[in-house]
Amino acid sequence: MIDWTIAFPTFLTAIVEWVEAFTIVLAVSFSIGWRAATGAATAALCVLGAMTVATGGMLDLGIELGWLEFGIGVLLLLFGIRWLAKVVARYSGLRALHDEDREFAETRAKLSSGDRHAAWLIAFKGVLLEGLEVWLVVVALSVKVGAWRSSVLAALAALALVAGVGGCIQAPLRRIPENAIKFAVGAMIVSFGTFWTLEALGGAEVWPLGDWSLLVLAAFYALGALILVVMLRRRPLVKATS
């Protein structure tokens, strides 16, 4: 049985990260060929798979749920606040919007030396680092009992979708609204982080609406971030995004 409250944010997060990883692999493939580039990507995915299995085993060891929930909540806050701040900066014009075409061109420029080993490492590291954020969300959202399968399947479905579409068109996936997805997912991830850290410290009764408080929090953060965008919009463009 799929838990959609877990699968949905995991799927959206994974889409964003896999699209970024695909752009790097695509750029590398023009330098060392598809076979070597996908080999590097597969190696990175194997590392991520091993990390996921290992973490799943650790979760099954019976660590006290309260501490685990707090630790994971802090990690989600670290991750979600960063995403939300970045996307607020982008929409308010303080940073340039994320652009897969530019990312593609920058990676191609890095590969101009023609070093095959360096190119392979760029693809491996790119997939590993983008996938690390997917791993974090998969593990974090799996703390909820029985949600492990839902989050892993959602991440794999996103990977299959991006790999399938990307493999067909063989161009950067520029039409996926990454910035909008990051905005929505950032609000959701911060909501889970806020909810779990406080629940772990103060007990389930601290949230007046119980689990429904998650929805209220997500709406609050989304609306609050929109207000921040309007407030920050008057500032000049200071730097381009990475």
Partner: protein
């Protein structure tokens, strides 16, 4: 390794914001204001986001 840590934890400003939030949260909970924390922490999170966004 630094890229690995930065991916997981963000930069020092990001860490500082979350550390400050957790310190306030712990202080509220252990001073018997856990229910108030549910209303105080979310706006503080947005303050943190607003502080980080231009930096």
């Amino acid at each position: 390794m630094s890229a690995f840590c930065k991916t997981l934890f963000g930069d020092t400003r990001n860490l500082a914001v979350v550390a400050a939030l957790m310190a306030i949260e712990v202080a509220l909970v252990y001073s018997d204001h856990a229910r108030e924390a549910a209303f105080a922490i979310p706006p503080l999170v947005l303050v943190g986001v607003g502080w980080l966004a231009p930096r």
